[in-house]
Symmetry: C2
Subunit: 315 residues, 2 copies
């Protein structure tokens, strides 16, 4: 058994690097364990929606829509139209194909399966190489304290389009949660090759994981290198509200701000070539400066290859 | 307040006459209460599916597919494809638009609404004139005892395509159910104008209602005429397995067989012109012989008009 790589991932950006790692490590017949944020999960129309798990699933199985940037390709919205006709809630877009995922997940959970069980089942149906799990089987819900009041994550993110100014994040339930088996077991594995923090939003994709008791300590304790890839390139988020959040929280809106946010957790950092001038500021943190924008499948593979080589060089 | 008409309906055939009655009585600004079979209801993929309520809803709102004969027009099946990709159950066809109905219904039921509440809500969203309710708010489930064993209704009807030979029907839960408020209140209304038993399958659409304690007695007690429209024309069912069931149960496969099955409940009977030669056999039961095939909206209105005039003549 070769040494496993652990990737921590949130939404679409994280899913891209996760997909690259999955390609590279599948070809190398080498294990990849991916742990995914569930702080964005919510119940909607009676369905358990897990947006980040689904972003990773659709990216790794090649079902994702690369043009729209989220959801499934060849998606249709007939159910949404019919919900509108029934004057039901339509602020959260549910594609017709995507609904199948939510239906199967919700039914399995109601029948007593854990979210880890459901996740393993769904990824297996699509023949994905990596082992994928949620960060925890218990609910952890990101709560956004804003100038417009305290909002449940999807209300902030989708309904309010991230317009309110962020003051603070809370991860409700995190203190009572335990790391999912895949996460705990992988972090305790003495053969662990590397931990890759994917280019996901630190506040809403990675911090929810770090809020679960034991995760931060286990990341500090592992002898494997812990490396983060910056989701900020040239002072802007590649996608989503990460830059806006950094600003509103009074942090540097830069790759440096991301590295500083993770602080002592990191053994290495990866930033885009556009930010090369900032690399010196992170000394003595080993920093890989490379092309991090992932437009094509080849981009994802190339970044995955470089990140893995960088990690291996840190050991 | 004009005198209300009560229609008892099951699947697609019953829904056609219900739609005709709805048109005629809406124009006359006269009340129509429709009570619908729920013996076919089942849980599927965690959703509460109510096929007969939906057939009536889609027919009365004009959303039904008249070519395929069931479900909604302009329906798509993307969610089904995605369920297949996930190797989930696909033996029961769920259209993408149709899913919206099941999602709203299931969520409302989980939130504590009764099936009567949900039904009233859904029909109201679509602006339907008639007041529509399920036969009961408690679950009543048609069970089919066959030569291939005892089958839940949808397993018999959809999965097995009605192939097994029927020995007997049971209506599990009927003895513990109570008539829905709309049904009980309408049958007790001294101004009730008529009870129309729509051309639905007697065994799987109407008998489940009659199995609920009090319904048969209330039908016998009302001074309003109770009239059934035959779903058998020329010795064959217009749609569905009614003829096959009559044969397997050893009953006459004819309009006469239907009238005999309902027996003393009826104050009048409506049969198709194709069966005119059988009308004499029902003497002294008043019988209307007319064109009962409903291909067009005009056919539905015409039959509704004639049935109402026939009922009014019986009083």
């Amino acid at each position: 058994m070769k040494a496993p790589v652990l990737a921590l991932a949130g939404g679409v950006g994280g899913a891209k690097l996760a997909a690259g790692l999955n390609q590279v490590l599948e070809e190398a017949q080498s294990p990849l364990n991916i742990v995914v944020n569930t702080g964005d999960d919510f119940e909607h129309l009676g369905l358990h929606i897990a947006p980040d798990l689904d972003s990773v699933m659709y990216a790794l199985s090649g079902l994702n829509d690369t043009e729209r940037g989220w959801g499934m390709r060849d998606e249709t919205w007939q159910c949404m139209s019919a919900l509108g006709r029934l004057h039901a809630e339509t602020w959260f877009s549910l594609g017709d194909q995507d609904l199948a995922t939510h239906l199967v997940r919700t039914q399995m959970l109601r029948d007593g399966a854990t979210l880890s069980d459901v996740t393993a089942h769904l990824f297996a149906q699509l023949g994905v190489h990596a082992s994928v799990a949620p960060m925890a089987d218990q609910p952890v819900r990101t709560i956004v304290d804003t100038d417009a009041g305290t909002l449940a994550f999807q209300h902030y993110f989708v309904r309010e389009q991230c317009a309110p100014e962020v003051r603070r994040f809370d991860y409700a339930g995190a203190a009572e949660a335990t790391p999912a088996t895949l996460l705990a077991r992988t972090l305790a594995d003495p053969t662990l090759r590397a931990v890759v923090i994917c280019p996901s939003n630190p506040f809403i994709s990675i911090d929810p994981m770090l809020a679960i008791p034991g995760v931060r300590d286990a990341l500090a304790a592992t002898t494997a290198p812990v490396v983060a890839v910056s989701p900020i390139v040239g002072g802007a988020a590649i996608k989503g509200p990460a830059a806006k959040m950094l600003k509103e929280l009074g942090l540097a809106v830069s790759a440096t701000g991301i590295a500083e946010h993770y602080g002592e957790l990191l053994d290495g950092f990866v930033m885009d070539a556009a930010d090369e001038s900032l690399a010196g500021a992170l000394t003595p943190l080993p920093t890989l400066v490379t092309q991090t924008m992932m437009h094509t499948s080849a981009d994802k593979r190339a970044l995955a290859d470089q990140v893995l080589a960088f990690c291996d060089g840190l050991t």
